[in-house]
Amino acid sequence: MSMTREPPSERLLAYLDGQLEPAEARAMAAYLENSARGRQRVEELRAMTDTLAELDPILADLDLVADVRAAVASEQVTTRPGRWRWGVAALAACLAVALVAPLLVGLQERGSGSAVPNQVDELGFRSKGVADTEARKANRWLGIQLFRVRGKEPPVRVDRRLRRDDGLLVAYTNLGPQPYTHLMVFAVDATGRVHWLYPAFERAGDDPQAIPIEGGAAAVELPDLIRHPFAKGTLVLQALFLRRPAQVSQIEGLLRDGVQQREPGDEAAGRLPLDGAGQQRLRLEVQ
Protein backbone atom coordinates (compact mmCIF):
# COMPACT_ATOMS: atom_id res chain seq x y z
CA MET A 1 0.00 0.00 0.00
CA SER A 2 1.31 3.45 -0.85
CA MET A 3 -0.12 6.91 -0.33
CA THR A 4 -0.65 8.89 -3.48
CA ARG A 5 -2.19 11.93 -1.84
CA GLU A 6 -2.05 13.79 1.42
CA PRO A 7 -3.79 11.80 4.16
CA PRO A 8 -6.54 13.47 6.18
CA SER A 9 -5.61 14.59 9.68
CA GLU A 10 -7.78 11.87 11.16
CA ARG A 11 -5.54 9.23 9.64
CA LEU A 12 -2.47 11.04 10.89
CA LEU A 13 -3.97 11.07 14.36
CA ALA A 14 -4.76 7.37 14.11
CA TYR A 15 -1.16 6.82 13.04
CA LEU A 16 0.16 8.72 16.05
CA ASP A 17 -2.24 6.77 18.24
CA GLY A 18 -1.05 3.43 16.87
CA GLN A 19 -4.53 2.71 15.55
CA LEU A 20 -3.68 2.01 11.91
CA GLU A 21 -3.46 -1.46 10.47
CA PRO A 22 0.18 -2.50 9.91
CA ALA A 23 0.03 -2.05 6.13
CA GLU A 24 -1.44 1.43 6.37
CA ALA A 25 1.00 2.35 9.14
CA ARG A 26 3.91 1.33 6.94
CA ALA A 27 2.52 3.34 4.04
CA MET A 28 2.06 6.34 6.33
CA ALA A 29 5.63 6.08 7.61
CA ALA A 30 6.91 5.97 4.03
CA TYR A 31 4.77 8.95 3.10
CA LEU A 32 6.05 10.96 6.05
CA GLU A 33 9.64 10.23 5.15
CA ASN A 34 9.13 11.97 1.86
CA SER A 35 6.76 14.75 2.88
CA ALA A 36 7.94 17.75 4.84
CA ARG A 37 4.38 19.05 5.05
CA GLY A 38 3.21 15.68 6.34
CA ARG A 39 5.88 15.73 9.03
CA GLN A 40 4.88 19.25 9.99
CA ARG A 41 1.25 18.20 10.36
CA VAL A 42 2.28 15.24 12.48
CA GLU A 43 4.36 17.50 14.68
CA GLU A 44 1.44 19.86 15.16
CA LEU A 45 -0.80 16.99 16.14
CA ARG A 46 1.85 15.65 18.45
CA ALA A 47 2.24 19.08 20.05
CA MET A 48 -1.50 19.16 20.64
CA THR A 49 -1.62 15.74 22.25
CA ASP A 50 1.54 16.48 24.24
CA THR A 51 -0.12 19.62 25.58
CA LEU A 52 -2.94 17.50 26.88
CA ALA A 53 -0.43 15.52 28.91
CA GLU A 54 1.26 18.55 30.49
CA LEU A 55 0.29 19.46 34.00
CA ASP A 56 0.16 23.17 34.80
CA PRO A 57 3.17 24.01 37.02
CA ILE A 58 0.77 25.69 39.42
CA LEU A 59 -0.70 22.25 40.16
CA ALA A 60 2.46 20.20 39.89
CA ASP A 61 3.66 20.75 43.43
CA LEU A 62 0.33 20.31 45.17
CA ASP A 63 0.08 17.56 47.75
CA LEU A 64 -3.55 16.81 48.50
CA VAL A 65 -2.98 14.39 51.35
CA ALA A 66 -3.30 16.92 54.16
CA ASP A 67 -6.39 18.56 52.69
CA VAL A 68 -8.13 15.27 52.04
CA ARG A 69 -7.29 14.09 55.55
CA ALA A 70 -8.62 17.31 57.05
CA ALA A 71 -11.81 17.07 55.03
CA VAL A 72 -12.58 13.47 55.94
CA ALA A 73 -11.71 14.18 59.56
CA SER A 74 -14.16 17.06 59.65
CA GLU A 75 -16.83 14.82 58.20
CA GLN A 76 -15.87 11.97 60.54
CA VAL A 77 -15.71 9.65 57.58
CA THR A 78 -14.03 6.35 58.23
CA THR A 79 -12.84 3.63 55.93
CA ARG A 80 -14.02 0.96 58.33
CA PRO A 81 -16.95 -0.98 56.98
CA GLY A 82 -20.20 -0.28 58.71
CA ARG A 83 -19.24 3.03 60.22
CA TRP A 84 -19.23 5.09 57.13
CA ARG A 85 -21.94 7.68 57.04
CA TRP A 86 -23.10 7.50 53.46
CA GLY A 87 -22.50 3.78 53.74
CA VAL A 88 -24.92 3.54 56.65
CA ALA A 89 -27.44 5.42 54.64
CA ALA A 90 -26.86 3.07 51.75
CA LEU A 91 -27.29 0.06 54.00
CA ALA A 92 -30.51 1.55 55.24
CA ALA A 93 -31.51 2.11 51.65
CA CYS A 94 -30.68 -1.47 50.84
CA LEU A 95 -32.81 -2.70 53.70
CA ALA A 96 -35.56 -0.35 52.75
CA VAL A 97 -35.46 -1.61 49.21
CA ALA A 98 -35.63 -5.14 50.46
CA LEU A 99 -38.61 -4.31 52.62
CA VAL A 100 -40.51 -2.49 49.96
CA ALA A 101 -39.34 -4.57 47.05
CA PRO A 102 -42.77 -5.97 46.39
CA LEU A 103 -44.04 -2.43 46.29
CA LEU A 104 -41.31 -0.94 44.23
CA VAL A 105 -42.04 2.25 42.59
CA GLY A 106 -44.08 3.31 39.61
CA LEU A 107 -41.87 0.98 37.63
CA GLN A 108 -43.27 0.20 34.33
CA GLU A 109 -41.52 -1.53 31.54
CA ARG A 110 -42.99 -0.62 28.26
CA GLY A 111 -42.69 -2.76 25.22
CA SER A 112 -42.34 -6.02 27.07
CA GLY A 113 -45.24 -8.31 27.42
CA SER A 114 -44.41 -9.11 31.01
CA ALA A 115 -44.75 -5.58 32.26
CA VAL A 116 -46.38 -5.24 35.62
CA PRO A 117 -48.90 -2.47 35.46
CA ASN A 118 -48.81 0.37 37.94
CA GLN A 119 -46.91 -0.69 40.94
CA VAL A 120 -46.50 1.51 43.96
CA ASP A 121 -44.09 4.36 44.38
CA GLU A 122 -41.60 3.89 47.18
CA LEU A 123 -42.66 7.23 48.57
CA GLY A 124 -46.24 6.28 48.68
CA PHE A 125 -47.80 6.45 45.28
CA ARG A 126 -51.08 4.70 45.34
CA SER A 127 -51.16 1.05 44.63
CA LYS A 128 -53.40 0.08 41.82
CA GLY A 129 -53.93 -3.53 42.48
CA VAL A 130 -50.56 -5.10 42.08
CA ALA A 131 -50.19 -8.01 44.43
CA ASP A 132 -46.90 -8.46 46.25
CA THR A 133 -46.45 -11.88 44.77
CA GLU A 134 -46.97 -10.57 41.29
CA ALA A 135 -44.25 -8.03 41.71
CA ARG A 136 -41.97 -10.62 43.22
CA LYS A 137 -42.52 -12.86 40.25
CA ALA A 138 -41.53 -10.01 38.01
CA ASN A 139 -38.22 -10.04 39.83
CA ARG A 140 -37.93 -6.37 39.29
CA TRP A 141 -35.57 -5.10 41.94
CA LEU A 142 -35.05 -1.77 40.45
CA GLY A 143 -35.22 1.83 41.48
CA ILE A 144 -33.44 4.84 42.82
CA GLN A 145 -33.21 5.81 46.44
CA LEU A 146 -33.06 9.47 47.27
CA PHE A 147 -31.27 11.00 50.24
CA ARG A 148 -31.08 14.57 51.39
CA VAL A 149 -28.12 16.28 53.01
CA ARG A 150 -28.92 19.23 55.21
CA GLY A 151 -25.98 21.25 56.50
CA LYS A 152 -23.46 18.94 58.08
CA GLU A 153 -26.01 16.31 59.01
CA PRO A 154 -25.57 12.80 57.67
CA PRO A 155 -27.63 11.80 54.64
CA VAL A 156 -31.26 11.03 55.41
CA ARG A 157 -33.65 9.13 53.20
CA VAL A 158 -36.07 11.58 51.62
CA ASP A 159 -39.54 11.28 53.00
CA ARG A 160 -41.74 13.35 50.74
CA ARG A 161 -40.53 16.73 51.94
CA LEU A 162 -37.51 18.66 50.81
CA ARG A 163 -36.14 22.06 51.59
CA ARG A 164 -34.92 24.19 48.73
CA ASP A 165 -31.40 24.20 50.13
CA ASP A 166 -31.17 20.45 50.67
CA GLY A 167 -28.43 18.63 48.82
CA LEU A 168 -29.53 15.41 47.12
CA LEU A 169 -27.72 12.13 46.86
CA VAL A 170 -28.94 9.35 44.62
CA ALA A 171 -28.36 5.62 44.90
CA TYR A 172 -29.75 3.03 42.57
CA THR A 173 -30.60 -0.64 42.58
CA ASN A 174 -30.36 -2.52 39.31
CA LEU A 175 -30.95 -6.18 39.93
CA GLY A 176 -32.95 -8.67 37.96
CA PRO A 177 -32.22 -11.09 35.17
CA GLN A 178 -31.68 -8.39 32.57
CA PRO A 179 -30.21 -5.39 34.32
CA TYR A 180 -30.44 -2.03 32.67
CA THR A 181 -27.35 -0.30 31.33
CA HIS A 182 -28.10 3.40 31.66
CA LEU A 183 -29.87 5.79 33.98
CA MET A 184 -31.34 9.27 33.74
CA VAL A 185 -32.82 11.19 36.65
CA PHE A 186 -34.63 14.49 36.36
CA ALA A 187 -37.18 16.48 38.29
CA VAL A 188 -40.01 18.72 37.18
CA ASP A 189 -40.79 21.43 39.71
CA ALA A 190 -44.00 23.28 40.43
CA THR A 191 -43.31 25.81 37.68
CA GLY A 192 -42.81 23.05 35.12
CA ARG A 193 -39.09 23.59 34.92
CA VAL A 194 -37.00 20.49 34.26
CA HIS A 195 -33.90 20.00 36.45
CA TRP A 196 -31.42 17.29 35.51
CA LEU A 197 -29.70 15.30 38.22
CA TYR A 198 -28.18 12.66 35.93
CA PRO A 199 -26.63 13.22 33.53
CA ALA A 200 -25.16 16.55 34.57
CA PHE A 201 -26.34 19.39 32.39
CA GLU A 202 -23.57 21.91 32.47
CA ARG A 203 -24.25 24.32 29.69
CA ALA A 204 -27.26 25.30 27.67
CA GLY A 205 -25.66 24.01 24.49
CA ASP A 206 -24.82 20.58 25.85
CA ASP A 207 -26.82 17.47 25.19
CA PRO A 208 -25.45 14.92 27.65
CA GLN A 209 -26.54 11.33 27.57
CA ALA A 210 -27.69 8.84 30.18
CA ILE A 211 -25.01 7.68 32.57
CA PRO A 212 -23.84 4.07 32.44
CA ILE A 213 -24.80 1.99 35.49
CA GLU A 214 -23.73 -1.28 37.00
CA GLY A 215 -25.93 -4.30 36.53
CA GLY A 216 -26.65 -6.76 39.33
CA ALA A 217 -25.94 -4.16 41.98
CA ALA A 218 -27.98 -2.83 44.87
CA ALA A 219 -27.86 0.58 46.52
CA VAL A 220 -25.03 1.86 44.36
CA GLU A 221 -24.31 5.41 45.44
CA LEU A 222 -23.75 8.00 42.77
CA PRO A 223 -20.99 10.37 43.79
CA ASP A 224 -22.53 13.78 43.31
CA LEU A 225 -24.11 15.94 45.96
CA ILE A 226 -26.64 17.84 43.89
CA ARG A 227 -28.39 21.10 44.61
CA HIS A 228 -31.00 22.60 42.37
CA PRO A 229 -33.08 25.73 42.87
CA PHE A 230 -36.39 23.87 42.85
CA ALA A 231 -39.48 26.02 43.05
CA LYS A 232 -41.61 25.56 46.14
CA GLY A 233 -44.49 23.16 45.73
CA THR A 234 -44.85 19.76 44.15
CA LEU A 235 -41.75 18.23 42.63
CA VAL A 236 -42.01 15.13 40.48
CA LEU A 237 -38.74 13.30 40.28
CA GLN A 238 -38.42 10.73 37.55
CA ALA A 239 -35.82 8.01 37.02
CA LEU A 240 -35.44 6.27 33.67
CA PHE A 241 -33.64 2.94 33.56
CA LEU A 242 -32.62 2.31 29.97
CA ARG A 243 -31.10 -0.43 27.87
CA ARG A 244 -29.37 2.04 25.58
CA PRO A 245 -28.29 5.60 26.26
CA ALA A 246 -30.71 8.40 25.48
CA GLN A 247 -29.86 12.05 25.11
CA VAL A 248 -31.27 14.73 27.34
CA SER A 249 -32.71 16.43 24.26
CA GLN A 250 -34.69 13.30 23.44
CA ILE A 251 -36.31 13.19 26.87
CA GLU A 252 -36.90 16.93 26.97
CA GLY A 253 -38.53 16.63 23.56
CA LEU A 254 -40.94 14.04 24.92
CA LEU A 255 -41.67 16.21 27.94
CA ARG A 256 -42.15 19.28 25.80
CA ASP A 257 -44.49 17.45 23.48
CA GLY A 258 -46.51 16.33 26.47
CA VAL A 259 -46.54 12.73 25.38
CA GLN A 260 -46.48 11.35 28.88
CA GLN A 261 -49.20 8.82 29.26
CA ARG A 262 -51.45 9.06 32.26
CA GLU A 263 -53.22 6.15 33.74
CA PRO A 264 -56.66 6.71 35.19
CA GLY A 265 -56.15 7.93 38.72
CA ASP A 266 -52.47 8.53 38.22
CA GLU A 267 -51.57 11.48 40.36
CA ALA A 268 -48.18 12.24 38.97
CA ALA A 269 -46.84 12.96 35.55
CA GLY A 270 -47.28 9.92 33.37
CA ARG A 271 -44.83 7.52 31.80
CA LEU A 272 -42.77 8.41 28.81
CA PRO A 273 -43.08 6.30 25.67
CA LEU A 274 -39.64 4.70 25.86
CA ASP A 275 -39.53 1.11 24.75
CA GLY A 276 -38.07 -1.25 27.29
CA ALA A 277 -37.40 1.46 29.87
CA GLY A 278 -37.99 1.07 33.58
CA GLN A 279 -39.58 4.22 34.91
CA GLN A 280 -39.94 5.45 38.45
CA ARG A 281 -41.68 8.55 39.70
CA LEU A 282 -41.39 10.11 43.11
CA ARG A 283 -43.62 12.96 44.16
CA LEU A 284 -42.15 15.31 46.72
CA GLU A 285 -43.04 18.61 48.31
CA VAL A 286 -40.44 21.36 48.25
CA GLN A 287 -40.78 23.73 51.18
Binding site: L52, I58, L59, D61, L64, R69, D206
Partner: protein, 214 residues
Amino acid sequence: LAEVCLLNSRENNVIALGAQGCGDTGGSQARLPLSQRDDDELMVLAREGVEAAFDQLIRRHQGRGLLIAQKYLGGAEGAKDAVQNAFIQLYRYVPRYKPQGQFKAYLYRIILNQCRMTARSGRTRQRLTDQLPAPVPSQASSEEAVLARERAKQTERAVAQLSVKLRAVVVLRYSAGLTHPEIASQLGIPLSTVKSRLFEAFKQLRRTLGGSLA
Protein backbone atom coordinates in the same frame (compact mmCIF):
# COMPACT_ATOMS: atom_id res chain seq x y z
CA LEU B 1 5.32 5.72 55.47
CA ALA B 2 4.43 2.77 57.58
CA GLU B 3 5.93 -0.51 56.52
CA VAL B 4 2.98 -2.80 56.44
CA CYS B 5 3.43 -6.35 55.35
CA LEU B 6 1.07 -7.95 52.99
CA LEU B 7 1.15 -11.62 53.54
CA ASN B 8 0.80 -14.06 50.70
CA SER B 9 -0.25 -12.85 47.34
CA ARG B 10 -3.80 -13.62 46.54
CA GLU B 11 -4.62 -17.09 47.64
CA ASN B 12 -8.33 -17.56 47.47
CA ASN B 13 -8.54 -13.92 46.61
CA VAL B 14 -7.85 -13.04 50.20
CA ILE B 15 -5.13 -10.66 51.19
CA ALA B 16 -3.85 -11.24 54.67
CA LEU B 17 -2.45 -8.36 56.62
CA GLY B 18 0.41 -8.52 59.03
CA ALA B 19 1.54 -6.12 61.68
CA GLN B 20 4.51 -3.88 61.26
CA GLY B 21 7.69 -5.84 61.20
CA CYS B 22 6.08 -9.09 60.18
CA GLY B 23 8.76 -11.05 61.96
CA ASP B 24 6.80 -14.23 62.31
CA THR B 25 5.28 -14.43 58.90
CA GLY B 26 7.49 -17.12 57.48
CA GLY B 27 10.29 -16.83 55.05
CA SER B 28 8.33 -17.09 51.84
CA GLN B 29 6.11 -14.14 52.39
CA ALA B 30 6.86 -10.87 50.77
CA ARG B 31 7.68 -7.74 52.70
CA LEU B 32 6.91 -4.80 50.53
CA PRO B 33 6.73 -1.12 51.38
CA LEU B 34 3.52 0.66 50.52
CA SER B 35 5.14 2.36 47.58
CA GLN B 36 5.50 -1.04 45.94
CA ARG B 37 1.97 -2.23 46.57
CA ASP B 38 -0.49 -2.12 43.75
CA ASP B 39 -3.60 0.03 44.01
CA ASP B 40 -5.93 -2.78 44.96
CA GLU B 41 -3.66 -3.85 47.78
CA LEU B 42 -3.53 -0.31 49.08
CA MET B 43 -7.31 -0.05 49.04
CA VAL B 44 -7.56 -3.28 51.00
CA LEU B 45 -5.02 -1.99 53.48
CA ALA B 46 -6.94 1.27 53.80
CA ARG B 47 -10.06 -0.74 54.53
CA GLU B 48 -8.18 -2.49 57.27
CA GLY B 49 -7.38 0.84 58.82
CA VAL B 50 -3.90 1.53 57.44
CA GLU B 51 -4.28 5.23 56.79
CA ALA B 52 -0.86 5.52 55.21
CA ALA B 53 -2.07 3.22 52.45
CA PHE B 54 -4.71 5.72 51.42
CA ASP B 55 -2.16 8.54 51.59
CA GLN B 56 0.00 6.51 49.25
CA LEU B 57 -2.88 6.21 46.81
CA ILE B 58 -3.42 9.96 46.86
CA ARG B 59 0.24 10.68 46.23
CA ARG B 60 0.41 8.09 43.48
CA HIS B 61 -2.59 9.38 41.55
CA GLN B 62 -2.97 13.05 42.42
CA GLY B 63 -0.76 14.23 39.55
CA ARG B 64 -2.70 12.36 36.91
CA GLY B 65 -5.96 13.29 38.57
CA LEU B 66 -5.06 16.98 38.56
CA LEU B 67 -4.04 16.70 34.93
CA ILE B 68 -7.36 15.16 33.97
CA ALA B 69 -9.26 17.82 35.89
CA GLN B 70 -7.16 20.67 34.51
CA LYS B 71 -7.75 19.60 30.93
CA TYR B 72 -11.41 18.80 31.46
CA LEU B 73 -12.09 22.12 33.16
CA GLY B 74 -9.94 24.11 30.75
CA GLY B 75 -7.40 25.35 33.27
CA ALA B 76 -5.95 24.95 36.71
CA GLU B 77 -8.88 26.69 38.36
CA GLY B 78 -11.22 24.18 39.85
CA ALA B 79 -8.90 21.24 39.30
CA LYS B 80 -7.70 21.08 42.88
CA ASP B 81 -11.23 21.16 44.29
CA ALA B 82 -12.44 18.52 41.88
CA VAL B 83 -9.62 16.09 42.56
CA GLN B 84 -9.67 16.67 46.29
CA ASN B 85 -13.40 15.95 46.33
CA ALA B 86 -12.78 12.86 44.23
CA PHE B 87 -10.34 11.50 46.79
CA ILE B 88 -12.77 12.25 49.59
CA GLN B 89 -15.40 10.38 47.61
CA LEU B 90 -12.97 7.54 47.07
CA TYR B 91 -12.30 7.43 50.80
CA ARG B 92 -16.00 6.95 51.37
CA TYR B 93 -15.97 4.08 48.90
CA VAL B 94 -13.11 2.26 50.59
CA PRO B 95 -15.32 -0.07 52.67
CA ARG B 96 -17.14 -1.32 49.59
CA TYR B 97 -14.27 -1.42 47.14
CA LYS B 98 -13.80 -4.72 45.36
CA PRO B 99 -10.19 -5.38 44.32
CA GLN B 100 -10.63 -6.40 40.70
CA GLY B 101 -7.77 -4.57 39.05
CA GLN B 102 -10.02 -1.70 38.03
CA PHE B 103 -8.82 0.95 40.43
CA LYS B 104 -7.75 3.52 37.87
CA ALA B 105 -10.99 3.25 35.95
CA TYR B 106 -12.86 3.59 39.24
CA LEU B 107 -10.90 6.66 40.29
CA TYR B 108 -11.08 8.36 36.91
CA ARG B 109 -14.83 7.88 36.82
CA ILE B 110 -15.11 9.65 40.16
CA ILE B 111 -12.79 12.43 39.00
CA LEU B 112 -14.80 13.02 35.83
CA ASN B 113 -18.00 13.10 37.86
CA GLN B 114 -16.46 15.61 40.20
CA CYS B 115 -15.29 17.70 37.27
CA ARG B 116 -18.81 17.73 35.91
CA MET B 117 -20.09 18.81 39.31
CA THR B 118 -17.40 21.45 39.58
CA ALA B 119 -18.26 22.83 36.18
CA ARG B 120 -21.94 22.67 36.99
CA SER B 121 -21.69 24.38 40.31
CA GLY B 122 -19.57 27.20 38.98
CA ARG B 123 -18.35 27.88 42.46
CA THR B 124 -14.68 27.17 42.13
CA ARG B 125 -13.03 30.02 40.41
CA GLN B 126 -12.56 32.48 43.19
CA ARG B 127 -11.75 29.92 45.85
CA LEU B 128 -9.01 28.19 43.98
CA THR B 129 -7.09 31.28 43.13
CA ASP B 130 -7.00 32.00 46.85
CA GLN B 131 -5.56 28.60 47.63
CA LEU B 132 -3.06 27.96 44.92
CA PRO B 133 0.53 29.05 45.35
CA ALA B 134 1.75 31.67 42.94
CA PRO B 135 3.63 30.18 39.99
CA VAL B 136 7.37 30.38 40.25
CA PRO B 137 8.84 32.08 37.19
CA SER B 138 11.36 30.01 35.34
CA GLN B 139 14.96 31.15 35.25
CA ALA B 140 14.95 32.12 31.63
CA SER B 141 11.71 32.45 29.75
CA SER B 142 12.80 32.12 26.18
CA GLU B 143 10.52 33.33 23.47
CA GLU B 144 10.02 29.74 22.42
CA ALA B 145 8.92 28.76 25.90
CA VAL B 146 6.50 31.66 26.05
CA LEU B 147 5.03 30.68 22.72
CA ALA B 148 4.76 27.07 23.82
CA ARG B 149 2.92 28.10 26.97
CA GLU B 150 0.56 30.29 24.98
CA ARG B 151 -0.07 27.45 22.55
CA ALA B 152 -0.76 25.13 25.46
CA LYS B 153 -3.26 27.60 26.94
CA GLN B 154 -5.00 27.93 23.61
CA THR B 155 -5.26 24.17 23.26
CA GLU B 156 -6.58 23.90 26.78
CA ARG B 157 -9.23 26.51 26.17
CA ALA B 158 -10.18 24.84 22.89
CA VAL B 159 -10.57 21.48 24.66
CA ALA B 160 -12.76 23.11 27.27
CA GLN B 161 -15.07 24.31 24.50
CA LEU B 162 -15.70 20.77 23.31
CA SER B 163 -18.95 19.15 24.30
CA VAL B 164 -18.87 17.05 27.45
CA LYS B 165 -18.81 13.76 25.59
CA LEU B 166 -16.01 14.76 23.22
CA ARG B 167 -14.01 16.31 26.03
CA ALA B 168 -14.26 13.21 28.19
CA VAL B 169 -12.85 11.02 25.42
CA VAL B 170 -10.01 13.41 24.61
CA VAL B 171 -9.03 13.83 28.25
CA LEU B 172 -9.22 10.12 29.02
CA ARG B 173 -7.05 9.35 25.98
CA TYR B 174 -4.36 12.01 26.15
CA SER B 175 -4.39 13.18 29.77
CA ALA B 176 -5.31 9.97 31.57
CA GLY B 177 -3.43 7.85 29.05
CA LEU B 178 -6.15 5.24 28.70
CA THR B 179 -6.30 3.05 25.64
CA HIS B 180 -9.28 3.14 23.30
CA PRO B 181 -10.78 -0.09 24.73
CA GLU B 182 -10.30 1.23 28.26
CA ILE B 183 -12.13 4.44 27.36
CA ALA B 184 -14.94 2.44 25.77
CA SER B 185 -15.30 0.42 28.94
CA GLN B 186 -15.05 3.48 31.16
CA LEU B 187 -17.75 5.43 29.33
CA GLY B 188 -19.92 2.47 28.41
CA ILE B 189 -19.74 3.20 24.70
CA PRO B 190 -18.62 1.11 21.71
CA LEU B 191 -14.99 1.22 20.59
CA SER B 192 -16.04 2.68 17.25
CA THR B 193 -17.72 5.55 19.09
CA VAL B 194 -14.51 6.28 20.98
CA LYS B 195 -12.67 6.58 17.69
CA SER B 196 -15.30 8.67 16.00
CA ARG B 197 -15.49 11.02 19.00
CA LEU B 198 -11.73 11.44 19.00
CA PHE B 199 -11.75 12.30 15.33
CA GLU B 200 -14.65 14.68 15.78
CA ALA B 201 -12.90 16.31 18.71
CA PHE B 202 -9.75 16.88 16.70
CA LYS B 203 -11.74 18.24 13.80
CA GLN B 204 -13.23 20.81 16.12
CA LEU B 205 -9.87 21.55 17.71
CA ARG B 206 -8.39 22.12 14.28
CA ARG B 207 -11.16 24.51 13.44
CA THR B 208 -10.60 26.40 16.67
CA LEU B 209 -6.83 26.42 16.63
CA GLY B 210 -6.24 26.74 12.90
CA GLY B 211 -2.74 26.11 11.60
CA SER B 212 -1.80 23.77 8.82
CA LEU B 213 -3.97 21.06 10.32
CA ALA B 214 -7.10 22.93 9.37
